[in-house]
Symmetry: C2
Subunit: 194 residues, 2 copies
Amino acid sequence: MSVAEQTRQNILNVAADEIHHHGFKATSLSVILNRCGISKGALYHHFTNKLELGYAVFEEVYQPMFLQAWQPALSTDDPIEGLCEFLTSITEKMACNESVCGCPLNNLCEEMANVDEGFRLRILAMQEQLNQLIVDAFERVRDDLRNNIKFSQAGYFIAATLNGANSLGKSSRNKVVFTQIIDELCCYIRALKK
Amino acid sequence: MSVAEQTRQNILNVAADEIHHHGFKATSLSVILNRCGISKGALYHHFTNKLELGYAVFEEVYQPMFLQAWQPALSTDDPIEGLCEFLTSITEKMACNESVCGCPLNNLCEEMANVDEGFRLRILAMQEQLNQLIVDAFERVRDDLRNNIKFSQAGYFIAATLNGANSLGKSSRNKVVFTQIIDELCCYIRALKK
DNA sequence: ATAATATCCGACCGCACGGTATGTTGCAAG
DNA sequence: CTTGCAACATACCGTGCGGTCGGATATTAT
């Protein structure tokens, strides 16, 4: 990897971290520059403006990260159990101070979806992609599931509840509430089986 | 109501609307002043700073609004059905352009809970209050419910899913996804009964 | 070796923001 | 009538922001 490309990747990673912690609008370019040890000229050589940097972070950092997290859980022989174990593992791996940051995708959705169309469409595509993953997984084992289930609707329901759990976790500042909601969600998911 | 008190209420209402539409940080005092037709001196006569204005909006506008919305649904003879009807009525009353604004409480939670302790504690208290309402309602009809239900956990689960539904609604910009999630949530709620 | 281009630097700009300080008006008590 | 304070108005300030631009340096092509 060329040194220029390293600079670019460094900017993307630092920006991703800053956006995750402070949101897009509250993220300061100056902070990114300081953390990267580069100048403003360097940043504006690689990205035309802050918005394009945000888009690049979404596409090149958040999106792959997101898919890599969900994909394995849904690709197992038993996606129902895979999903439950994945959700439970989130609560276990989540440190207390991390719980307040929430999911990058959901954060951006809350902050930017109704402000910037570029973000909105990217987020929407990502959510539909996730929903498709869930639907595909359910289709694969549909014989094991109750036959009155609307797969897509259930998929969105799961995603929504996870987002909401993150939200409630932010205000309570401990993961007990979060864990409870995930527990309840796993009950719901397992109840999809016959 | 004195003219001064009218001014104060006007500021609160306009500020509540602005915060609902643009979030707290992105809400500009200048815009509030213009919409109210008052000067900056007037605003700073009634509120010490922007943060205190935000707290006042939360306590005097959002909080009463929130309780007035939930209370009736949970006070009926059949809170399970009351809850479902209430949730469904949200989707019906919600215009398409309103769907992108989301719930003021959830918005503030996402934006401010991990930034400002004053907001966080107020939001937390509000959420616990809502949860208590749900728990109380469930306790009242506990004989009609399955006997392995953790009331508090179910309450948080319901609140979380509603928040998440709002979030997903923001990016899709139509209420179909929102409605689906609420439908699924109502199924879950009705399944709490024996 | 030299020209050309990519990469990066850092001073600067305009702007909108929250907040302050001082001035003005009007009502109400004495 | 006047004194005083609540209720505003207005001009101004410092700050941090995203973004621009001319120049310096490194890398590559010829």
